[in-house]
Structures are given as C-alpha cells and as structure tokens.
C-alpha cells in the first residue's frame, strides 16, 4: 500500500511536469524538463522554513497535513474499489484545504486566493450531477460495482458522454493553468499558496500531485472500467495531454464567469438526466 502511495506521488509529480512541458510546447516555448516538478519538491523541502509571524499557527500547519491525509485516503478508496461517494466527499473537502491555506497566513494575497476559492465552489455542482447520473444508471456507487457494470454493458464514457464531460470540467478546474484556476492566477502572486514555502510547499506539492493522480485515475476507472494497470496509465497520460491542450489554448476566465460556466454545465447534465429518465 505504502509502495503504491509513493508510486502515485512520483507519478503525479511527473504528470505535473508533463503538463507544464506540453503547455509550453503548444505555446511554442521549450519548457522545463518533465522531472522538473520532482526536483522542485525536493528543493523546497531543503529550504529554510518557518511560520509567518501573523499566521494562525495551528491552522497553518494542520491544513498541510489535512491536504496530505485526504488525498492519500482518496487514493486508498480507489485502490480498494470503495464508494465513489466518499471519493467525491474528499474532493469537496479539498475546498476546505484551499480556504484554509489562503486564510491561515494573514497574507492579503492568500486571502484573495481563499475568497476566489469560495467563489469557485460552484465547481462542485457538476460533480453531484455526475454522481446522481452514475447512481441512476448503474444503481450503485461502489467502484467495484461500477467496473462490473461497465464490463457487462460497455464503458460509461460511451453510454453517457455528457456526464463524462461534466466530470472532465471538474478535473479541468483543478489543473494548474486551467481557465478555471482563478485561485492561483498570477495577478494574486500564488493565490492561497503564497505564504506556504519551504517544507510546507514541498508537502503541498506532494499532496497536489496525489490529487492529480487520483482524479485522472478515478476518471479512467469510472468511465472506462477495469483494464490492465499499464493501459490505465497510458489513458491517464492521454487524458492529461488533452487537458494540457485546453489549458494552453484557453484564456483564464474572470472569477464569476467560472461560476456561471460551471452552473450551466450542471444544468446541461440535469437536462440530460431528465431526458434519459423520460425516454427510459
């Protein structure tokens, strides 16, 4: 188990590196080497570290630990083929991590990041439309049941593409440099992570790499189903590259526009669901 966790951490960091590289190439820049993010994390963990004088100390540190804890838990849920309801619960709890990171330091930039993360909470709404749709179609939220269902009836990606699209938007909104990534836009320095430096930053990089790994892995498991692990990794890579394309080509949206876009996505999924119910 711990071996898989470490594997996920390094793969996730590697995926982050590939993401940056792909964006750079699409935009005609050379970009950093793909292992850059791994080196980054190591570098940060050697740096001088303290807690800002104005910070709320306990919260400042606890949020980092919580970030690591919830995403390791999410990974194990995938590994044990547990309930995707719990997985998405964790995804929403990640919101609390974002708020906590920004608010705990007392930094004005962190605060702006946190406020934007509160605004962008609407990114959770497509997710619940997704869960509802999956539960409606497969009759279960256990990952093992969903995989079994797909083995019998073909991948959900083909059975209900709009739901997959909604989930895709959810993952997109959590990627670096995405059009929805308003919480760490450049005009507010590093957003809610501005004051988490040194060891804290290294730990957060570890947690966020786990997050990327888990989200991509979950998408493949939920919408494509049980296939050999090597094939899963290849699909994850392809998915990531498609995300990189979107991130490289789309400009960043203004904060409230992201909310509207995500609400519209939810409404579309809801309409689709109603249509399915009516037809069925």
């Amino acid at each position: 188990m711990i071996d898989f966790l470490l594997f996920a951490v390094f793969t996730g960091l590697l995926l982050h590196g590939i993401h940056r590289k792909a964006i750079a190439r699409i935009q005609g820049r050379p970009g950093p080497p793909i292992w850059q993010e791994i080196l980054h994390s190591l570098k940060f963990s050697f740096k001088e570290t303290w807690i800002p004088a104005t910070a709320s100390e306990v919260l400042f540190v606890a949020v980092v630990l919580v970030a690591l804890g919830i995403w390791s838990a999410a990974l194990f849920i995938l590994l044990l083929e547990g309930s995707i309801l719990m997985l998405f619960g964790i995804y929403m709890l990640h919101k609390i991590v974002e708020h906590g990171l920004g608010l705990s330091s007392g930094s004005p930039y962190g605060k702006f990041g946190a406020i934007r993360s509160v605004i962008s909470a609407a990114s959770e709404i497509p997710l619940f439309a997704t869960i509802g749709a999956i539960y409606f179609v497969t009759g279960s939220l256990q990952l093992s049941d969903i995989i079994a269902y797909q083995a019998a009836n073909g991948p959900l990606l083909l059975l209900m593409p709009p739901v997959a699209a909604a989930m895709y938007i959810v993952i997109l909104s959590k990627m670096h440099y995405s059009p929805f990534a308003i919480i760490e836009a450049k005009e507010i320095v590093s957003g809610n992570r501005t004051e988490h430096f040194g060891v804290w930053r290294a730990a957060l990089d570890v947690a966020f790499s786990l997050k990327t790994f888990v989200l991509l892995y979950a998408f493949v498991l939920i919408f494509i189903g049980g296939i050999p692990f090597a094939a899963v990794l290849v699909l994850m890579l392809l998915l990531l590259l498609s995300l990189s394309f979107v991130c490289a080509l789309c400009p960043m949206l203004s904060p409230y526009d992201t909310v509207t876009m995500q609400s519209l996505a939810t409404a579309l999924v809801a309409v689709y669901l109603v249509a399915v119910v009516v037809i069925a």
């Binding site: 104005t54 910070a55 100390e57 007392g106 004005p108 509160v118 869960i131 279960s140 939220l141 609400s263």
Partner: protein, 222 residues
C-alpha cells in the same frame, strides 16, 4: 432489531447510538464526515486567529488587524456550537433531527459573522441570514412531506426500497440545506471570507460542505 437497509450507498453501519426513536448511526461515509468535523472543531478551539496584514497605500507600511479578546471568545463559542451541530447533523439517522441540526448550523454561522463590526461584512451576514430564515420553509416542509407521505422519519425505514419518497420532498430537503449552509450560493460567503479570524470563518465552510455532502447521501439513498 431494525437496521440500515443493506445496499446503503454510504456503506454498512458501523456503530449505532440510540435516543429513543431517533437513532444516530455511523457508516464509513458518515464516519469520515464526522472525523473531518471533529478535526476542524478541534482546530477552531486550539488555534489562535491569524492577524490579517493590510497594506497602507502610498508606501511600504503595513498594519495588522487584531481581534478583540471578547469577540474572540464569542466567535470561538459559536465555532464550537457550529462544530457540534455539524457533528450531530452528519450522524443523524432521523430526517427531522437532521433538519434541526441544519438550522442550528445556519444560526451559528450568522452568529460567527455577526460579531464583526465591518459594515460590509454585516450586510452580507444579514442577507445570508434572510436566506437562512426563508430556507426553513423548504427544509421543514421537506421533512413534513416525507412524514405525511411515508408515515415515518427514520432514515433506516426510508432508505429501504419498500418506501417511495416523493421527489418534491427530496428537492425541498436539498434546497433547504442549500439555503441554510449556502452551499453553492457563495456570493455572500465570499464577502464573509474577507473578515479576519480564519479558524472561525473556516468552520462556516466546513459545516456547510459537510451538510451538503450528507444531504446528497440522504437524498440519493431515499
């Protein structure tokens, strides 16, 4: 002894606490939510609030906003009450009891923000409070319609496949929790977030998210 219907989406029940007809239970899902709520309540108790840095215009000067001790005590009390209400709501096995805990979360949230003297924040708190109050209509209405059309409020009975809960009741319940916790209407919450006192502001978000997660489980199960 009665127990949770078997294919429950939150997982099998782990532990049961009985209060007469109100039966609280832990499933893996609610246990996870419970642990999270405990964690952040403890953080709100033990951590000092941060001091927000503000930049004075026209120079390199800066100043920090401090929270007065009396306000700190009050906010901490409200945060603890909010944490306890959240704990109750996530493990509740009774629909009406859940709605009561939800409205308690709503009112403690108003309390946490009402302590600020900033007019802007107070204004947001007021609008938020109005929504929390009118949300009692769908909230209690949903629970009442469930009781009238099924004859029971216990989630153990309702989660079973024998009882069909009307769609309107489910929609009301979700709408009510959205109003009390503000789940997706974060506009007022974004204004509230500007106020200092991170551990206490954070517990507002924790409680509303956990409530939303719980109501989604309830509605999907019914």
């Amino acid at each position: 002894m009665n127990s949770l219907a078997v294919p429950a989406i939150g997982g099998a029940e782990l532990h049961v606490i009985e209060f007469g007809d109100i039966v609280n239970y832990f499933s893996p899902y609610t246990a996870m939510l419970f642990a999270f709520a405990v964690l952040f309540t403890v953080i709100a108790i033990v951590s000092r609030p941060e001091r927000q840095v503000d930049i004075a215009f026209g120079g390199d000067a800066y100043y920090t906003k401090d929270i007065q001790p009396e306000q700190l005590k009050f906010q901490r009390f409200m945060a603890i009450a909010c944490g306890l209400a959240t704990l109750g709501a996530v493990v509740s096995g009774d629909v009406f009891n859940f709605t009561l805990f939800t409205s308690m979360v709503g009112i403690t949230n108003i309390g946490i923000v009402a302590a600020y003297k900033n007019r802007h924040v107070l204004n947001a708190a007021f609008q938020y409070g109005i929504v929390a109050m009118i949300a009692t209509v769908p909230l209690f209405g949903g629970a009442a319609i469930i009781l009238a059309t099924t004859g029971t409020l216990s989630m153990w009975e309702l989660f079973g496949s024998a009882i069909a809960v009307p769609l309107i009741a489910k929609a009301f319940l979700v709408l009510g929790v959205m109003g009390e916790g503000m789940a997706p209407f974060y506009v007022a919450k974004a204004e509230i977030t500007r106020a200092p006192g991170a551990p206490y502001v954070l517990i507002i978000h924790v409680s509303s998210l956990l409530l939303f997660l719980r109501v989604v489980e309830i509605v999907l199960s019914m």
